[in-house]
Subunit: 205 residues, 4 copies
């Protein structure tokens, strides 16, 4: 039997448990308010062990953040890489956003409340890469549908604002407990409205 390469299973378990505990603490009481001691207690790891796996609090927070963004973006990329018509695409984008938030409420709280946190400085490179990749596939998707006469010709930043904006604002209300509309309906209403905002309509053709 060959000697295993890489960390033992137990190692991966311990590291994962630290990440999970960190996410819970950060999302519940915020990055600054969370102490390493909190994470230590929740994860059952020792102080030294945490620092064995992560360089420090910042790096730990950054690693959790990156992981969340990766999960969230995966759903978007999937849409941008499919070939369906634009209207269906918009529906799926909005649907993915609202449902992902609902199903990953801890991550949502953490991600959307820490977009500007200083601890992300150490992640700038990784985040830039991820954002650039997403921007590329979204640009390609928009370009395709604009050229097909489905979407209005608008600057990318405006399109993004028109699609992502309502979703994010809805998320903000959701996280603050201010939403009055059920998710399914919200998805439908938002997707339809966004479609009206960015689509080329029959009478304009």
């Amino acid at each position: 039997m060959k000697k295993r390469k890489g960390p033992h299973a137990s190692t991966r378990i311990r590291k994962g448990s630290i990440i999970r505990s960190a996410l819970r603490c950060f999302s519940e009481i915020g990055f600054s308010a969370t102490t390493m001691e909190d994470i230590r207690q929740h994860s059952g790891a020792s102080t030294g062990s945490i620092y064995h796996h992560f360089k420090g609090k910042d790096q730990l927070a950054a690693e959790v953040y990156i992981e969340g963004i990766r999960e969230y973006q995966a759903g978007l990329v999937e849409v941008f890489q499919s070939e369906e018509d634009a209207r269906e695409g918009i529906r799926r984008l909005v649907g993915h956003h609202l449902r992902w938030v609902e199903e990953n409420i801890e991550w949502s709280r953490y991600l959307f409340r820490n977009r500007f946190s200083a601890f992300l400085a150490s992640t700038e490179e990784a985040l830039s890469t991820m954002n650039r990749d997403l921007a590329e596939s979204s640009s390609a998707w928009f370009g395709r549908h604009i050229r097909a006469g489905e979407l209005r010709r608008m600057p990318t930043d405006i399109i993004i604002a028109l699609i992502l904006g309502p979703c994010m604002e809805h998320t903000r209300q959701y996280l603050e407990g201010l939403t009055a509309t059920r998710t399914d309906r919200a998805v439908r209403e938002l997707a339809d409205a966004i479609w009206r905002a960015i689509a080329v309509h029959a009478d304009e053709a």
Copy 2:
């Protein structure tokens, strides 16, 4: 000549200088990362003097926040209280948001990046009042135009998301230096698109 009531001029100057310094520090390095020492150095006031004027760091941050929200909301309220038609109203709402952000960049950074911050707890009352007032005048405005057949009948949270969302997302991009479109055009594009999203159109009447 009557003796004046209230603080002396010098006091008001000192207090204002502390608020201005606090805003600058908070917007540049964030609330948590800013120390009272930072504010002390920027303002030129002594530690004791800051605590003489403000109860603590939270209250100082809250006071700055409230002041900013008041300034920002003033422009919105003005629109909601005018009698013009809905389309012009949307144009003015979007225009006010984008231009206010551009003209009050430090406050924008501070306000829009701290929507969730814990220090606002000490302001909950004041903020709630302001938000309730705004919600009332905006609800009245929306209701009026919905009943007039100008705007679609939608839940308030959805309408808010559709109007405020794109503006906020544009602000995010602006603050991150990612906007490619000039403000005037952005206002036009966003306002027109938002109008398409929420208005009742001729062929639907």
Copy 3:
């Protein structure tokens, strides 16, 4: 009555007490082994107060070191600036060294055991200046007596080694409790021997 400038008397007292406590701790158990808590307890100051007066452990240690060197060098400079004959000067140099060590045993332990400590890095400039000043006055003194035919013409580094070396080595033995000779006699023996080593003798004239 004019307003006093500079720190209050109580401030100076507190700062001095911290320095004194630090010297005692450092000299007794060494720099690394001394904790800020030790110094806090000995001085009666609070943690925050220590850090109010000193930037950190290193700077505190450096400040104590500088103060000690200043005290020690003062006695040497006095000799180098007097006009007496060379032989008497050597006697006084050796005498000052041995007696200062004996009378300032804590400082001696601290100074002679920390010549190379890393915390001195922050002091390099101040120390260089002090050493340069001392080197200048000593060089002038040696030069005068060499030209007067009292001392042999030798490189400065050699002269220094011949005078300071035996004194330092005696100090090392003294601090380790290995000296068998009473100070007065040690001064005489060392000064006479050093004189034989560096003086121009009658039969060589």
Copy 4:
């Protein structure tokens, strides 16, 4: 072929590499500032491996120290055991010291800067033995030459200070890059001067 007793060759190599790395780290950044992690990285050994070969940091440092002292003292002992005249002996002592320092600069830095370090406590016995042995052979040598009328009758601590002191002080200057005189000349000058300091001269006989 008989089975070899004692550690395998590879073991000796690993252990030696650890010692060498430790010496380098200790001499460059000091004992306290050096972490086991530093030594681990420089040596390429694992944490566990280091602790397999050495009981701890102190013992490792002590072992390196002892080894250096042994090397250094060997040259001195050789002189003390030879039968040549005193003057030649002094020349050889001084020459050995200065040249050994020059050829073993890392060890010099380490040995001569850690004469007082606490980690040597664990070596007290070994060091005492070595020092006693050296003291015995040196005392015998001095005694012989004093009785022969070559050297002045002085207390041992004074003689030591007069011989070792200038050498050590020269070393200090050398390690700090402050020496201006080439080694050969320095040996000659120092040895001659020390000789004048401790010898019985013709006109005093």
